[in-house]
């Protein structure tokens, strides 16, 4: 395989920005842009992000809807020009050097576009004619479990089946780099597992995969590394273990009747960095789970009370994700 002189990184993103509205997207036109700014102010969906993906790595962009994932992936796919910063895919600019990049990438858009009157097989055949080194169309369909739906028109396929058809097109040219924008949205549990299995096989076969998802489970299951996006920025990045390690663990329970928060041992002594009360439920956050949990349990034994709804959990990706969605900055100000 040709590694080229771009080193180990297959995707490199530096200071990437994307605005909608007045800023020209590829088709520069000053007059129109000026008018656009007046009626529709610029919205910056991607606000200066950096990351890179190594060959053979599976990198996930995780974020809520509107975090800027799709806007980012479209820049990587070369569908639009960035309004700032730089993208390199396989050593090339995917927008200006489209013909050098496209034969080596596979793309699954967030929303697949297929003519509704073609059958699944005809759709794949059409795409095969436009794809270098395409697999046989039926093989691609059977990879995504659509072989028995080959002769069904696209308009009669379910949403999940269309997602899988889109995946079949993305895989068709045995791409070196695969972009999957929310590949399992709308799939049932079984189809989702099958898609994961397929993506893992492709990764094991050397394909570099960049996927976006708002399913934590999906990122946890598949990603070698991930970045959590929030409001157009990357809030945190690393392996699942890295991201989780940086987050506090959590203890929650109901305060027994007749007790107040102040009756607990001093929280700082337990290694608790922050707390919340909602109703009678106390939630403590700590970087030292064993020490804090021991402190709380010993206190409960000494007082002879039962801590109802007791829940002691290590930091999880979910916790990290929710923490970011709620406003990571606020929490950090409180000293976590």
């Amino acid at each position: 395989m040709d590694i080229g002189d771009f080193g180990d990184f297959v995707i490199e993103v530096t200071g990437l920005r994307r605005s909608y509205g007045g800023t020209p997207r590829g088709r520069g036109r000053a007059g129109k842009a000026a008018r656009g700014t007046k009626s529709r102010p610029d919205y910056e969906a991607v606000r200066g992000i950096d990351f890179s993906v190594r060959r053979g790595e599976l990198f996930a962009l995780l974020g809520t809807n509107g975090a800027g994932k799709t806007s980012t992936v479209e820049l990587l796919e070369g569908l639009a020009a960035p309004s700032g910063g730089q993208v390199r895919v396989l050593g090339h600019d995917p927008y200006t050097e489209r013909s050098a990049v496209r034969p080596r990438t596979g793309v699954m858009l967030q929303e697949g576009g297929f003519p509704s009157e073609l059958t699944a097989l005809e759709t794949v055949q059409m795409w095969a004619g436009c794809t270098s080194g395409a697999r046989p169309a039926r093989e691609a369909l059977s990879m995504v479990g659509l072989d028995r739906r080959a002769d069904i028109r696209v308009k009669q396929l379910s949403g999940g089946e269309r997602r899988r058809l889109d995946l079949a097109l993305a895989l068709l040219g045995r791409p070196e780099v695969l972009f999957l924008d929310e590949p399992t949205t709308g799939l049932d549990t079984e189809a989702r597992r099958e898609t994961w299995e397929l993506v893992r096989e492709l990764r094991d076969g050397g394909t570099t995969v960049l996927l976006t998802t708002h399913y934590l489970e999906e990122a946890e299951e598949l990603a070698d590394r991930l970045a959590i996006m929030h409001k157009g920025r990357i809030a945190t990045t690393g392996t699942v273990a890295d991201v989780v390690a940086a987050r506090p663990s959590q203890i929650s329970f109901e305060l027994p009747d007749g007790f107040h928060l102040g009756d607990l041992p001093p929280l700082a002594e337990l290694g608790v960095g922050g707390h919340e009360m909602s109703g009678r439920t106390v939630r403590l956050r700590t970087g030292e789970l064993q020490r804090a949990a021991t402190g709380v349990l010993v206190w409960a034994r000494d007082k002879g009370v039962e801590l109802r709804g007791l829940d002691i959990r290590s930091a999880s990706l979910e916790e990290a994700f929710l923490g970011i969605a709620k406003g990571l900055d606020d929490l950090e100000e409180k000293g976590l």
């Binding site: 395989m1 013909s99 297929f114 095969a128 436009c130 794809t131 080194g133 990879m143 045995r174 492709l202």
Partner: protein, 270 residues
């Protein structure tokens, strides 16, 4: 042959590169399929233009053509080709571009190896081929159906068909750029259709109109096309006139291409 399981992990990027011809024919073939499954488009494409020409036959035969050097055939045949260009290509293709855009098909196509120009050309391919076939059929059978002689200057006919096709494809893409939905495409195409039918000599030859009016109408997008076709059939063109028609035709192509470059949208508006 390798098995599916073995194929899954086979090395990436090993196959031969596609060529523009391969990509265009793959896209064109699928568009032809879609056209075949769209009854409205088929009717507009195959029945309407020739039907219009026949319907006009009676009216044209009543025209005072004695001193114009024209016959019923040399009025009707260029008009019939004009109908083919307007209905089979311009109107159908405007809808096709809008529908493909709204279905996100154009976006999907742009995510692969096709260039932007290939996406547009491939989508236009079947309608253009069908239109060409109809033009050939009209030219060949015109004598039988409409009492016309064969073209006296076939090169002018060729030039007229070529310029006409490129013009209507470019204007269809430009019109799609200002059209939001498939339904409104029916309206967007009206101005050019009516203007051309009324003012480009498709029904009433410009030579039988007052000279001042004719001079202005000759600047309409379809006028040079119909003019070249009619000159081709009658053979009665002077070089100056032909050059003028070619220039007007090429200017409209230029304007159309410019409008597409500036105003074509590849995705639905958010």
């Amino acid at each position: 042959m390798r098995q599916v399981s073995g194929m899954r992990v086979s090395a990436a990027g090993t196959g031969a590169r596609t060529t523009a011809v391969m990509r265009l024919s793959a896209l064109g073939k699928s568009e032809l399929r879609l056209l075949g499954r769209n009854k409205t488009a088929l009717f507009t494409s195959l029945v309407l233009p020739i039907g219009m020409a026949f319907a006009m036959r009676q009216a044209v035969s009543q025209m005072p053509l004695k001193n114009s050097g024209l016959t019923v055939g040399t009025v009707l045949l260029p008009g019939a080709i004009g109908f083919v260009l307007l209905f089979a290509v311009y109107s159908n293709l405007t809808s096709a571009f809008v529908v493909r855009r709204e279905e996100l098909v154009l976006k999907r196509l742009r995510s692969g190896e096709l260039s932007d120009g290939e996406v547009l050309a491939g989508t236009a391919l079947p309608t253009v081929v069908i239109a060409l076939a109809q033009c050939v059929l009209l030219a060949a059978c015109g004598g039988l159906m409409m009492d016309a002689e064969p073209p006296q200057a076939p090169l002018l006919v060729l030039a007229g068909v070529a310029i006409g096709l490129v013009t209507v494809v470019a204007l269809a893409a430009a019109s799609a750029g200002i059209t939001r939905t498939a339904e409104s495409a029916q309206l967007t195409v009206m101005p050019l259709m009516f203007l051309s039918m009324a003012g480009s000599g498709m029904i009433v030859p410009l030579t039988v109109l007052p000279e001042r009016l004719a001079t202005v109408l000759e600047l309409l997008p379809m006028s040079p096309v119909i003019g070249l076709l009619r000159d081709g059939w009658t053979g009665g063109a002077d070089a100056g006139e032909t050059v003028k028609r070619l220039v007007v035709g090429l200017v409209w192509i230029g304007l159309g291409v410019l409008a597409v470059k500036r105003g074509f949208r590849w995705e639905p508006r958010r």
